[in-house]
Amino acid sequence: MAFDTIDSAAKQLVLTVQEFSLFALRAVLNLFSPPVYWSDFTLQADIIGVGSATIVIFAGFFTGSVLAVQSAATLAAFGATAVTGRFVAMSMIRELGAVLTGIMVSGRNASSMASELGSMVVTEQIDAMRALGVDPMRKLVTPRICATVFTLLFLTIVADFCGILGGAAVTVFMNHQNGTQYFHQAYLYLRYPDILQGLIKPLCFGFIIASVGCFYGMRTTGGTQGVGRSTIQAVVWSSVLIIFVDLLISTLMVSIFSR
């Protein structure tokens, strides 16, 4: 009995991965043949990018602040509070800026995509779109994926910037250290591989957020309860995948650049 359950769950998992892969591939391939709905891309970029800017600014600022508070306390034990700027900048740019922005945008937009598309499925709006001769993958999914990939890159840069500013605020106003020293340290030890690592991640995370959100939305069944279920699955799986892919990219980049 238990073996049957495990067997069935494993098959279901493999099937879901297969369906997701085909779904994501189709969404990407749609970019290489007409029609491509650029107006929907612009609209989604506004909703996802501009709409998420506030939470990303706050999350980035406070994360940088917390990093400065915690690192200063630890670094003080070694008499190295002067390198707080380096610590905050490295952490934000290489890791936390991208991951936190990804998770914040996932909570806001993967859920919104899953619930919006899921509602459209259960109210037959997706079928209506197909019946009207419009491909919902091209019209709804591809623009959302492109817009999320595009805007998450810039949102991550904003989060990195705000995080470094937050760290500076704590360093200067709470720890009473020199601001110039903080920024000098933050800049001095930064290398191109660090920036590259910080900018590759949001591209992957953006793809994960939108493709997972749209995937669960488009396969919604079971009415309004099903929409709720899809929304939860979209947020949970996109967040888990973001952290997993972060680990893969970090490992790869560290092994390539040895830093």
Partner: protein
């Protein structure tokens, strides 16, 4: 019960090629069959009314007609093309030739009535003034010109169905599919919707497949015609029914009846008798 007269013979000029042909179609979605071994045709100028109680597969059959559900076996010809094994992207141009009205209207709730009705025209990037003119014309046809700038959320159920009809008609489709267009509506609103379907049938001669479980609506469509002078539906002379309006009946996924109103009311099939009574 309605005592139906024998139907008048079909016009001799009707071409033999059907617009839609189902050939032994079975649909199961991986479980027990929802549709089993279904075969029927819809000819040019023909209106076929698909009857049956709730949950027997009427909506699935309608969606299958437009290639919206995958088939397990069998073949569906739409406009002479086999759509049963066709790739989704090849289906879009064929679907643009049909108009479909969904059970609850399926209007895009984030778009205005104008944008809903004009959906296909907007995708074709027609000029705004042309779109507005066509939308007003289509909304006037269903008597809802005043809803142009409204959102679907602020419309009643009956109005939403009429907007859905306007959306289905805007590209002047060659074939119409109505999924329970009067389901859940009050009798007065239902009559308004049926009148629109009859108007489309008699004025524009558009063939259609109409799903309903309401016998009253089905019989109204058979025994009324649209009078353009009066701009309304009138009863046909006693003893006459529309010869191009015929019936199909589904039960538990199987087609148990295919024929005229006369054949329907004189059917000996126990399920048909029970349904009619």
């Amino acid at each position: 019960m309605i005592e139906a007269p024998a139907p008048a013979p079909l016009p001799a000029s009707a071409p033999p090629q059907p617009l839609v042909a189902f050939r032994n179609v079975t649909v199961s979605f991986g479980g027990p069959p929802v549709l089993e071994d279904i075969s029927f045709t819809v000819g040019p100028h023909e209106t076929r009314i698909l009857l049956g109680p709730a949950g027997v597969g009427k909506s699935v059959l309608l969606k299958a007609t437009n290639g919206l559900v995958p088939l397990d076996s069998g073949q569906i010809l739409l406009f002479g093309e086999d759509i049963s094994r066709m790739h989704e992207r090849d289906l879009f141009p064929i679907r643009q030739r049909t108009g479909m009205v969904f059970q609850e209207g399926a209007l895009f709730d984030s778009l205005t009535v104008r944008d809903n009705v004009a959906y296909q025209l907007i995708q074709e990037e027609l000029p705004d003034d042309v779109i507005d003119e066509r939308v007003r014309e289509s909304l006037s046809f269903v008597g809802l010109a005043e809803t142009f700038s409204m959102f679907p959320g602020s419309l009643s159920g009956g109005m939403r169905r009429r907007v859905a009809i306007a959306r289905a008609l805007i590209r002047r489709p060659e074939f119409l599919l109505y999924d329970s267009p009067t389901g859940g509506l009050d009798p007065v609103t239902s009559t308004t919707i049926i009148e629109l379907i009859v108007k489309q049938r008699d004025v524009y001669k558009t063939p259609s497949l109409v799903v309903t479980h309401r016998l009253q609506d089905a019989f109204t469509m058979c025994t009324r015609r649209f009078n353009e002078e009066w701009n309304g539906m009138v009863r046909m002379p006693k003893g006459e029914v529309d010869p191009n309006t015929t019936f199909l009946m589904l039960n538990e996924g199987r087609l148990i009846f295919d024929g005229s109103l006369h054949d329907l009311v004189h059917s000996k099939d126990p399920f048909v008798r029970e349904f009619l009574d």
